[in-house]
Structure formats: structure tokens, C-alpha cells
């Protein structure tokens, strides 16, 4: 029976991951902003896990609330085995370009808030001598692109931060796992046309998250093929890349054209 904290528990990926963790026995503390959605997920997980599920609704942008939140989690669960940080938002890139405030707000939610929690959780794990921290980054964090660099910059910052944290805690029984999903069919991407083979379902990502914890991985691209796509994308020289309006990946099958 593992004690699992999920921050951003109402996200589609987090919900799918929670169900998979519940199947092998888990006690949860769920944190999400929308109380109604959180209540529905809490009831569902209580039935699936056969255990009472703890949780609270909280605006995670309020960084000064984070220490007290973790104290409440410790009290309810008595030590965290796995923490999944899954909250985030996809900002409107063009609106951000016109508004410094929106750009900083997006970076606040997607990067600073995750970094604040990761810092506190890593210290708690270090004091306890064990724990697994899983943070959802994005393939968008691997390279800045004109279509979503505000989101990408925040996710990139989180990735770099976790890399350092992982180095700092290396040699201890503590895992720091960066998950980099590609395109996932979730409410966050509701406005996209979801055609083509590159779109994954939240449960595929959840399966990869559970496997990453079991196999003590450091950085996982989900689904797996994104590792190779990003390898190619990272090796395109900047003077070429900056002029590419779209990189068209033609997978041939299903006429699967996708604009990256």
C-alpha cells in the first residue's frame, strides 16, 4: 500500500495514473483547483481502491500555501511514497506575445509552482530517506518554437530544474522522474484537431508513468517514439529551424499528417 500525493489530480493524465496506481493498492491525497471535479474523482478512486481518499481543492498558484499543504498531506498519509505533479495550463501563445502579465502568469503556473513543490517534496524525501517524485513536463520543453514557446520555456525550466535535483539526490533511494508526453487527447488540448497517429490517450501516458516509477527511470518520453522525434528535432541547426514554419512529419499511415 503506497501513499501517493497527486497535485493537479483533475487532469486527465493524473486521473488515469491514479486509477492505475489504485489497482495495485494505494492511499491517495488529491489536490486540484476545481472542487466539483475533484469530488467526482475522489468518489471514483475510493470505490476503485477500497480506501478512503484524502484531498483538498487549492489554487496552486498560491506558492506560500505550499508548505502548509505538504504538512496536511503528511498528516493525512503519514509519509509520501510517490508524488505526481501534474497541474498545468496551455496558454494562448499569441495573447502572451501581447501581454507580459499573461506570459508571466503562464510561467508561474507551469514552472514556478511546480518548482516550489518539487523543492519542498525533494527535501521531505531526503529527510525521510526515500520517495519518488514524478513531474509532467512536455516535449515542448525540449526546443523553443514560435507556436508555443511560452509554454515550452516553462516546461523546459522544470526539466532543467529536475535534472539538477536528480543529480543532487543521486545515490540515495530517491527517484526524480521527468515525464515528457507528446500530444495527448485531453481537455487541455480541446481546441486541437486530433487526427493522426501522434495523438495519445491519457491512459497510455498513465501506463508509462507507472512503468517509469517501477523501473526507476529518469526521463521518459511518452509514448516512446517521441524520444526519437525529439532527437531529430533537437539536431536541426537553429538557422534552419527558425525558418521552418511547420515541420511536417508524414507518417504515411492513415494519411497521418501532423503539424508539429
Amino acid at each position: 500500500m503506497r501513499n501517493i500525493l497527486i497535485v493537479g489530480a483533475t487532469s486527465a493524465i493524473a486521473e488515469a495514473a491514479a486509477r492505475r496506481f489504485a489497482a495495485s493498492g494505494a492511499r491517495f491525497y488529491l489536490v486540484g483547483r476545481n472542487a466539483e471535479k475533484l469530488a467526482a474523482i475522489t468518489r471514483d478512486l475510493e470505490i476503485r481502491s477500497g480506501q478512503p481518499v484524502h484531498g483538498e481543492s487549492l489554487d496552486l498558484d498560491l506558492l506560500d500555501q505550499h508548505p502548509a499543504l505538504l504538512e496536511r498531506v503528511e498528516q493525512a498519509l503519514g509519509g509520501i511514497d510517490i508524488a505526481l505533479i501534474a497541474h498545468g495550463m496551455l496558454p494562448d501563445q499569441e495573447a502572451c506575445q501581447r501581454s507580459v502579465a499573461m506570459t508571466l502568469a503562464a510561467i508561474h503556473t507551469n514552472a514556478l509552482s511546480a518548482i516550489s513543490l518539487a523543492t519542498l517534496l525533494a527535501n521531505a524525501f531526503e529527510a525521510r530517506g526515500r520517495g519518488a517524485l514524478v513531474v509532467i513536463g512536455s516535449v515542448a520543453g525540449d526546443r523553443g518554437r514560435r507556436s508555443n514557446y511560452v509554454y515550452g520555456a516553462a516546461k523546459g525550466m522544470v526539466g532543467l530544474f529536475l535534472q539538477g535535483l536528480r543529480n543532487r539526490l543521486s545515490g540515495k533511494d530517491i527517484q526524480i522522474i521527468t515525464v515528457k508526453p507528446g500530444f495527448v487527447d485531453t481537455p487541455m488540448t480541446a481546441t486541437f484537431e486530433k487526427k493522426g497517429l501522434l495523438w495519445a490517450q491519457p491512459d497510455q501516458i498513465a501506463k508509462g508513468i507507472v512503468a517509469a516509477v517501477e523501473h526507476r527511470r529518469d526521463v521518459v518520453y511518452l509514448p516512446w517514439f517521441w524520444r526519437w522525434i525529439m532527437l531529430v528535432i533537437l539536431h536541426i541547426p537553429e538557422r534552419v529551424f527558425k525558418n521552418l514554419k511547420t515541420i511536417v512529419i508524414n507518417l504515411g499511415l492513415q494519411g497521418g499528417l501532423l503539424l508539429y
Binding site: 486527465a12 466539483e36 471535479k37 467526482a40 474523482i41 468518489r43 471514483d44 470505490i47 476503485r48 487527447d185 485531453t186 481537455p187 488540448t189 480541446a190 481546441t191 486541437f192 484537431e193 486530433k194 487526427k195
Partner: protein, 436 residues
């Protein structure tokens, strides 16, 4: 909610339509309606066009897949409409409960089971799925939420059970489960040489076994017409120690062949073999192969090729059942079309009260036909002549071709039902049976 351009098919892969889709994620959200008519779509296991909405929008309900309440002492379960029966079984069987009624696949949604008022092998004792429903919430496009049950908003309950998703969106459903001692089924097999023997077996077994179904050889003609296999089962009593079940891995039909692999040759060969295959008269089996023999062959509908297939399921009232079934089987055998698995079962007298519910007293026969174009349509129309004259009906959940005239004859309460249709909801099926 999210929009998608994917075009879900029905299980028979016929007809092919153009429609948009909208994924629902929160049972508490209102229905977004625009200029287009909408229709709830669960897991796409209905065969024809009751789950399709040509030119409109499908509300994909699989995202509404949360359990809401489960009382493990009373066996009462409430869940959102997009939960699959397979997910319910995974939760309840280890806790000593079972679905009160289950269709022949567990990959259907709870909402779909209500909207089609599905039935199972225990119809003669338990009735249809709608009879097991204690309560559901019906969400209308105007934002109204109606709690419906056998004692509450009864008229809406009767319209929505078997109502083909047209009365609004079923948001969640509460059902009463049945107690089981273990996941095993005691099974008995008998061969019957003709329909006369089938009816004699029913008279003997129906009082003793809650689960009964028969396979019938629809390729047999002349002296062997109506031969088949009789299968009876019951939940194993407490204390049964069964051997560990063999690990059964699912197979998937990997692609759709251009022409059907189900043809005259394969049907004759398979049916003859299946009839003569030796089987133990009595045994124990896990519940999965007993209730869901085809669920282990994923996407088996692809075997019928790119043109898809039809299923014809009719029910014939008791008084005319023998003659009408003989005539139907003779017409199928003479046509040379027909299927591997034709299924025969006697319904009981119980009814859920659904205005468009299919189950009614009599004998039901279900078979698949690869879509060979006009010859298949002509054969099915010839079968409808017999069904109609015998006072029977055809199952909308499996239909893609019956005439509107036949539908209105089979379901005379359609005109009462029509008053309950949500003004923003429609389906390819409904438009078809209302126009021709």
C-alpha cells in the same frame, strides 16, 4: 469537452456516415448544442445505425467513466454512463457480486445497456437490463436533469429504457447487482436435432437453470434443419473448488480483409464441425468464456470484410414460434447466406416497460450476414415478411436496414415515444425509420 474529427463506426461497419464528435468528460456539464443534432455514443457495440448520426454530432460518453457509489453489502452500484460493463465486473466480481443481466459482450457502456434495454441468457428469469435499473439521471438539452426510475418520473423512465439515446443524455445509472459465491459457472451442454427437441429442452431446463442459450446450425436444411447445441449454466454454489483457469490471451483481428472471410464455404464447414465437436455434458467454466465467448477475439467484426455485415435478430411470439422459425431457417438455408454463430433463446414473460424495448415473450433468433449488397437486403426483407406475419419484431440495436413501415409495425408505441425525444437529439436510425 473536446472536439474530434474521428468518425466512429457501428459494430457492423455499415452504414458509413459523416458526423462530428464531441468528447464528454464531466457528468455535471450541460450539453453543448449548436445547429447540429446530437446523439450519445458509448462504445460502438450496437450493430447498425442506432449509434450513428449522419450529418450531426456524436456525444462520446466514454469520458464519463467514474464510479459514483458502491454499497458492497447491498450490491447497489451507481456509475457514470460511459463506464463499461467490463470495468464494473472487474470491480464487483472479486467482492462477490455480478451483473444482474449481461449481454453477450462486456465491452458495452452502462448508458448503452439502458438505451438499448439489452438482454442476456437469463431473460427467462430476470428480464432485460432495464428491469435492473433503480435510478438514472437524464440530462436534457435545455439543461433539465430528471431523476428517473420505476417509481419516479415513470413516463421518462419508460421512454429512456430502450429509447436509443433519443430522449436526452443518460448521465449516470444505478443498478441492483446479484450475489455470487465465486466467479465459476456450472455448465451443461446438450445437442438437439431439430426445433421440436429445442422446445422440449426449454421446458425441462428453464426451471432449473438461470442462464440458457442455444447455438443453431443455420446452414443445415432438410432433415437436419433446426439442429443445434443447447447451453445451460448457473453460478457455481459456495465451496466449489475449481482448477486455476488457463491463461487466455486476447487475440485481435489485425486488419480488415477486402472481402468477407465469412462465406458459404466457411459457414458450412464451421457449422458442421461445431455441431459435431465433442463436449463434456457437464462442467465448470470461468464466467468470461461462458458469457462473452467472442470478447477474446478483439475486433472480430473485421472478419466480415470492408463492406461490413448485418445482424438480424428477431423475436417471434410463442404461438407462432415453431412455424415461423422453421420458415426463417429454411429461407436462410436456401439463400446460402448465413453465419457461424446463430443464436436462439426463449424470452420470459417479464418486461421492463420500455416503450421501444425489444424483448417480449417468444423465441429470439440472431444471426450475422456478410454484406453482399442487394442479395443480402433482399434476403433480410424476406425474413421480415415472416417475422411480421408472425407478429414478431426486429431488434433496433442490431438493425441497419428494416423499413420504417416494419419498424412502426413492430413497435406500435413509437408514436407515444416520439413525444419524449429531445428536440436537439436525433440518429441515423430514427430518421430512417421515420421516413420510409
Amino acid at each position: 469537452m473536446s472536439r474530434g474529427g474521428a468518425l466512429p463506426n457501428s459494430w457492423g461497419r455499415y452504414p458509413s456516415v459523416r458526423q462530428r464528435s464531441l468528447t464528454l468528460r464531466q457528468a455535471s456539464d450541460p450539453i453543448q448544442t449548436g445547429a447540429e443534432q446530437v446523439l450519445p455514443f458509448g462504445n460502438g457495440r450496437s450493430y447498425g445505425d442506432v449509434c450513428l448520426n449522419d450529418g450531426g454530432t456524436l456525444l462520446l460518453t466514454r469520458g464519463l467513466d467514474r464510479f459514483i457509489a458502491f454499497d458492497p453489502t447491498m450490491g447497489i452500484l451507481r456509475a457514470e454512463a460511459g463506464v463499461l460493463l467490463s470495468e464494473i465486473l472487474a470491480l464487483i466480481v472479486p467482492q462477490g457480486w455480478f451483473l444482474p443481466v449481461t449481454p453477450g459482450t462486456r465491452f458495452v457502456t452502462l448508458g448503452g445497456a439502458v438505451a438499448n434495454d439489452v438482454h442476456g441468457k437469463n431473460h427467462h428469469v430476470a428480464g432485460s437490463f432495464g428491469e435492473q435499473v433503480r435510478l438514472f439521471e437524464l440530462l436534457r438539452s435545455d439543461g433539465t436533469r430528471l431523476l428517473c426510475g420505476p417509481e419516479q418520473n415513470i413516463e421518462w423512465f419508460r421512454a429512456t429504457v430502450g429509447g436509443l439515446g433519443l430522449t436526452g443524455l443518460i448521465a449516470w445509472v444505478e443498478i441492483q447487482l446479484q450475489r455470487i459465491a465465486n466467479p465459476w459457472i456450472v455448465v451443461e451442454h446438450r445437442r438437439f436435432a431439430n426445433l421440436h427437441e429445442f422446445f422440449a429442452l426449454n421446458d425441462d431446463y428453464e426451471a432449473r437453470y438461470p442462464y440458457i442459450v442455444s447455438w443453431i446450425d443455420c446452414a443445415a436444411a432438410g432433415r437436419t434443419l433446426g439442429r443445434g447445441l443447447y447451453l445451460a449454466g448457473m453460478h457455481a454454489p459456495p465451496g466449489v473448488v475449481a482448477p486455476a483457469p488457463p491463461l487466455r490471451r486476447s487475440l485481435t483481428v489485425p486488419f480488415t480483409p477486402p472481402v468477407s472471410w465469412v462465406n458459404k464455404l466457411s459457414v458450412h464447414g464451421f457449422n458442421g464441425l461445431y455441431y459435431h465437436l465433442p463436449r463434456p455434458a457437464r462442467g465448470l467454466t470461468p464466467y468470461q468464456p461462458f458469457f462473452y465467448p467472442l470478447d477474446n477475439l478483439l475486433e472480430w467484426n473485421r472478419l466480415y470484410g470492408a463492406r461490413g455485415f448485418f445482424q438480424y435478430q428477431c423475436v417471434i411470439p410463442p404461438e407462432s414460434a415453431r412455424d415461423a422459425l422453421r420458415e426463417i431457417l429454411a429461407r436462410i438455408a436456401a439463400s446460402g447466406q448465413g453465419s457461424m454463430l446463430a443464436v436462439l433463446k426463449r424470452f420470459g414473460a417479464r418486461t421492463s416497460g420500455g416503450l421501444l424495448s425489444f424483448p417480449r415473450p417468444g423465441v429470439t433468433l440472431a444471426l450475422d450476414f456478410p454484406n453482399l449488397g442487394p442479395t443480402t437486403f433482399a434476403l433480410l426483407n424476406r425474413l421480415d415478411e415472416v417475422t411480421r406475419q408472425a407478429g414478431g419484431a426486429v431488434y433496433p440495436a442490431k438493425d441497419a436496414r428494416m423499413s420504417g413501415d416494419c419498424f412502426r409495425h413492430y413497435f406500435p408505441r413509437w408514436s407515444i415515444f416520439a413525444n419524449f425525444i429531445d428536440p436537439c437529439f436525433s440518429s441515423s436510425f430514427w430518421r430512417r425509420v421515420m421516413t420510409d
